[in-house]
């Protein structure tokens, strides 16, 4: 029992690293409401102000949503050469690849719902672009992956 406890503790403390067989999505919730974020077939609970590291071992694509009436997922889908901005599209599908590190940021915003009271807190979910570990960014063609491109 003692050996199992020590082993589990060491594994949890050491953590993992991203390589060609693993990928990482760091979910940060900066809204005042907890979120049950669906990524593919799995739901991840992140409290308000909390973060969660979602390690995965196979590339996957699927649904991204906050399971909340006022969840607004925006997925990085490309790059605008003229403005230098990442293009985000309001869509509920995203793909994530091993070998890359992604961020998913959740924000609270006021939206006009048209009902009384007119404004309610909504959650915007930004699925950011993934950076390939060890890539020479801006030189390697596959250094950045946009999850909106699945």
């Amino acid at each position: 029992m003692k050996k199992i406890f020590v082993f589990v503790s060491i594994v949890l403390l050491i953590g993992c690293s991203v390589n060609e067989n693993t990928g990482l999505i760091t979910i940060k919730n900066s809204s005042s409401v907890s979120i049950n974020l669906t990524l593919g077939n799995t739901k991840y609970y992140v409290p308000a102000g909390g973060k969660y590291d979602c390690w995965f071992y196979q590339s996957f694509s699927g649904k991204i949503n906050g399971n909340y009436e006022l969840s607004l997922p925006y997925v990085a889908s490309g790059y605008d050469d003229a403005s230098g901005d990442v293009i985000y599209k309001n869509k509920e599908e995203a793909g994530f690849k091993t070998g890359y590190k992604y961020n998913v940021d959740v924000f609270g915003v006021w939206v006009n719902t048209g009902n009384y009271p007119s404004y309610e807190t909504a959650q915007i979910i930004y699925a950011r672009e993934g950076i390939k570990i060890g890539a020479n960014v801006l030189v390697d063609g596959d250094g950045i992956h946009y999850p909106g491109n699945l």
Binding site: S31, G108, K132
Partner: protein
């Protein structure tokens, strides 16, 4: 039995983690480059002793951190700066080279280590504050000063 209880509590603690609040802040440091980076510091405070390729570390802090960001084996430091353009009523952001940085409690920041055009760069990005029930809006802070 008592020992088992405390072991279960310890494991739960490791799983549950923390949340940012008005006394604590978080910096997530990710090494996205192809080599090990050591002695990552803000001012005199070491926030990570070593990060291998593909590793990340969470640094929780109380109150705040001030100073220049540094690390062994990197070529440059860039940190996001924000200011308000009164004339055009818009927020402007750009990266400053090797600036003094302030990291404030209540915010979640990221520092990424990239290999950009063959150079190893520490990039400090904007921090996000959990929205309050009063404002309903998450706010941003830019670490460069």
């Amino acid at each position: 039995m008592k020992r088992l209880f405390w072991q279960a509590i310890f494991i739960l603690f490791l799983f549950s983690g923390c949340t940012v609040n008005n006394k604590t802040g978080l910096i997530i440091i990710s090494n996205l480059s192809d080599k090990k980076i050591e002695n990552i510091k803000i001012g005199d405070i070491t926030i990570s002793y070593a990060l291998n390729k593909g590793e990340k570390a969470d640094f929780w802090f109380n109150n705040g951190l001030k100073g220049k960001i540094s690390a062994s084996g990197t070529d440059s430091v860039m940190a996001l700066y924000g200011c308000y353009d009164e004339t055009n009523s818009r927020e402007l952001t750009f990266y400053k080279d090797d600036p003094e940085c302030h990291f404030i409690s209540n915010y979640q920041y990221t520092i990424d280590i990239h290999k950009i055009n063959g150079k190893y760069s520490l990039v400090a990005n904007s921090g996000y504050k959990t929205d309050s029930y009063e404002t309903g809006i998450s706010t941003m802070d830019f670490p460069a000063r």
